[in-house]
């Protein structure tokens, strides 16, 4: 028989241990499908490690992949802190990318130091506005935001396709559904020569610090935490619950929108409907692995990014499907959920009461 007993205050080191244990458990469990595919776990993981850390190029690719994950992870973390279940980061990311393309492909011409902030602002605004709808539906009408944000992902992706086959299609694109390229003045500068890593990473790290500061040090952060932990008590204490949800919704959507800006203006240079391989959904895993801590999000994003980049390279070498990466990420989410029990409770294993035998 297992018994749970509530635990006192949670230390940072314990949170860290729990997340590491979950990540490790997911890697161990992944050995089962690997064996199914005829791959030894040791072989697979050494190939993956090489693919993510084996060279400067590999390492920068991993960081490039982590950039949008940090931002979508922050989007999920800040929303989940307030118990606003934003599962729509994927759609908000595309909305941000679409806005970046709308502003950054020639509609406005300005020097880079003006155009880049404008593109970023447009993307953040678009993401935030997309999340504003479900937030208002939740606070005004009590419509569950989980379903609305999920459904919006599909609507926005279709909208992006519509724009890319219609008004925003690149006339020079030989009929491919893609946008015009981003102007050079709107593109995020590269961090290193001949590598794809770009300034989006710096923005993402700054965002993580910013969200940390917001939650920890400010009145708004205090209110977000109070609403998330006990909305009834927060309302009773005079905290503006609706306004807090709106703020969180806007911020969460804006962070996801920024992820889209980075992918378009920092990496791809133009928008296609397959811009994101599910960064929005992976962001949920990142946030959960991080225990919803903004600083933790950075490390969790690096972990998830190395799984994805490593699996791609492993897949090229062995022919084993890189859906393995998605599988590991999904298992990491389930593992971190279970290991969270060890944060809230002391889990005690006790023998079944021996008196049972006597009763029979």
């Amino acid at each position: 028989m297992i018994r749970f007993e509530p635990r006192g205050p949670v230390s940072v080191s314990r949170m860290l241990a729990v997340s590491l244990a979950a990540a490790f458990a997911a890697l161990v469990l992944a050995a089962i499908p690997m064996a199914f595919a005829g791959l030894s776990a040791f072989n697979a993981y050494s190939l993956m490690a090489k693919g993510a850390f084996g060279s400067l190029f590999a390492f920068t690719e991993m960081l490039t992949r982590a950039t949008p994950l940090i931002l979508t992870g922050l989007a999920a973390a800040v929303a989940f802190r307030a118990k606003l279940w934003n599962i729509g980061a994927e759609g908000q990311l595309y909305a941000g990318a679409l806005a970046a393309v709308a502003v950054g492909t020639g509609a406005i011409s300005a020097p880079a130091y003006l155009l880049i902030p404008m593109v970023a602002l447009a993307g953040a605004l678009a993401g935030g506005l997309v999340m504003l709808g479900p937030t208002l539906l939740k606070t005004r009408l009590g419509v569950d935001e989980v379903v609305t944000t999920l459904l919006l992902n599909f609507i926005i992706l279709l909208f992006v396709q519509m724009m890319l086959e219609g008004p925003m299609q690149d006339p020079m694109g030989m009929g491919w559904p893609q946008s015009e390229p981003i102007l050079d003045e709107a593109a995020l500068p590269k961090l290193l020569d001949r590598m794809r890593i770009h300034w989006g990473l710096v923005v993402a790290l700054a965002a993580a610090l910013g969200v940390y500061f917001l939650l920890k040090r400010t009145v708004w952060g205090f209110e977000i935490r109070a609403v998330g932990e006990n909305a009834a008590a927060a309302r009773h204490a005079g905290i503006p619950v609706t306004a807090t949800f709106v703020r969180v919704g806007l911020l969460s959507g804006a962070l996801a929108g920024l992820a889209g800006v980075g992918e378009v203006a920092g990496l791809k240079g133009y928008l296609t409907a397959d811009l994101s391989p599910g960064f929005g959904y992976s962001g949920i895993v990142v946030a959960m692995l991080a225990g919803l801590s903004p600083i933790g999000v950075v490390f969790a994003a690096l972990f998830i990014a190395s799984i994805f980049v490593g699996a791609d390279s492993m897949s090229r070498a062995t022919g084993v499907s890189n859906y393995l990466a998605d599988l590991i990420v999904a298992m990491a989410l389930l593992c971190v959920l279970v290991s969270g029990l060890f944060l809230r409770f002391k889990v005690r294993f006790i023998g079944a009461p021996s008196t049972r035998e006597i009763a029979k």
């Binding site: 499908p33 199914f36 419509v143 569950d144 459904l151 279709l158 599988l327 389930l334 959920l337 029990l341």
Partner: protein, 314 residues
Amino acid sequence: MIEIFEILLSANFWAAALRIATPLIFGVIGALICERAGVLNLGIEGIFTAGAMAGWMAVWLGAGLWGGVLVAAFAGAFFGLIHAILTVPLGLSQHVSGIGVTLFATSLSYFIYRTALPDVSSPPRIEAFQPLDIPVLSELPFIGPALFQQTPLTFLALFLVLATAYLLYRTPLGLAIQAVGDNPSAVESQGLSVYAVRMGTVVAGSAVMALGGAFLTMSAFDAFFFGMVNGRGWICIALTVFASWRPGKALIGALLFGAFDAFQVRLQTEVGSFIPGQLFLMMPYILSIAALIFVARRADYPRALLVPYFRGQR
């Protein structure tokens, strides 16, 4: 205007509506019984995918069609069990667990499919369910083609609606499911196990959901594609609220939805040249959100939905 009436009056249209509604009926019924027991199952999208893949693959590997259906149901039950363990005795967040099960079931299905079929360019096909031409009945004008030329899985879905209604309102187990979704301590105080009732219901409901996926690969189409579930699971979650957790209303909701979808496909062929196709494709999702908004104010959620139960704590 005349075209619209012509569409609505054709037997073909209603046959299509019922066909489109079938996976949704399975999904809504599955989601509804889970939620009646107090457990939101957002694993539905992944369970659809798993049912679609598992059922198809069983048949492709040589099982009979009904064997495939059974395999799909077992796959659904397996993922339902994961969700049940995480959310019922462990009392973890139903939202996060559901999303986790969806990601897990989807990626596992894709991984298995890709590993079994590493380099096929066009997806292999199976001999899918054929329409049951019920003698005499299917000859009836209008009703015949609309109702009696469906595949067996559609009839199974309709039967499940009746069976679920009977189960919920007429049997001791149904009473226990309703009670556990309203006030678990009512069940515990009568000597029943809250965990057993909830877990059993979630597992069974997930098996039903998986049949909706199986319908896609074994009846609507005859092959498995990536991304073929395409949000149908989430639509079912919205429809469950729309149906006020009642099997009868769930059937009506799914049929309305199917009719609307069939209608817009036909409308598209009339006016498709003026309006981008994506607008039509968006309609199901927009409609789902509209349905949620429509019932939001008077939605009568099961009182214990999302609330974990720990023994000895009332």
